[in-house]
Amino acid sequence: MKKEIHLNWFYPYPTETIWKYLTDPELLRQWSSIHKTTPFEAREGFEWTEQQKPRRGWDGIMYLKVLEVVPNQKLSYSLKGGPKPGELSLDTIVTYELTSVDGGTELHLSHTGFEGFKGAFTAFIMEKGWMKIFNKRFRKFINEQIVNV
């Protein structure tokens, strides 16, 4: 089961340009759906929310908070959400990393630490005596669902 998202994207522009588009509130508003309502501030601790289309188990509200800012290199923030305010079952981290490459910039986006998922699953698997009572079939099933990334 895939538990992390990693995307690589090449942009034929210098890292400074990409950084500007990742952090300037006016530019962000033009391309990013998570920066439509609150002017972004690229500083640690900055918090904002953004409404997305709700789906099953999620009211569509993203709770975001800047964790790390390394100009022209790295920007990360936490992304939380859940079925209703106060119940944040989704607790994840989004990171943008920029690398200067020949002819432009490589952007690596990762969305990791699906703690709501992983925490619950770990607890589920590590439960006392769990492995002993596993039958072969379900062990295979769990392997397919969780261990394979």
């Binding site: 990013s32 099953r56 989704l90 969305h111």
Partner: protein, 107 residues
């Protein structure tokens, strides 16, 4: 009226519900058999079972007078759906950035 919607994570975040899933890894069990193994009230067990059924972790079938529960992989797939959802979401975001850059920087 308003029904609490549980997602897959909340569903298995609860100890009793995980215990129920564990019991079902061995074999199918009736709701009565499950309830007998717990010290909590039958309505509470019924609610847990309903949450697990609603989130796709178990199936319930009627066998005579008994209602029998068995494991279902759908709940686990739902979690995968979240990852898929965000993968698509970010791909769209990065594509939008590319389009704006093209428009602004090459104009």
């Amino acid at each position: 009226m308003s029904r609490t919607t549980y997602d897959s994570f909340l569903a298995i975040a609860d100890t009793s519900r995980r215990e129920i899933l564990m019991m079902l890894t061995k074999e199918k069990k009736s709701i009565n058999t499950i309830a007998d193994s717990f010290n909590i009230s039958r309505p509470a067990i019924s609610k847990h079972i309903k949450v697990l059924a609603d989130t796709g972790f178990i199936n319930i079938e009627n066998k005579g007078r008994e209602r029998v529960c068995s494991l279902n992989s759908k709940g686990f797939e739902e979690i995968q759906n979240w990852v898929n959802y965000f993968e698509e979401f970010w791909t769209k975001e990065l594509g939008n950035l590319e389009m704006l850059l093209k428009k602004n920087e090459e104009g």
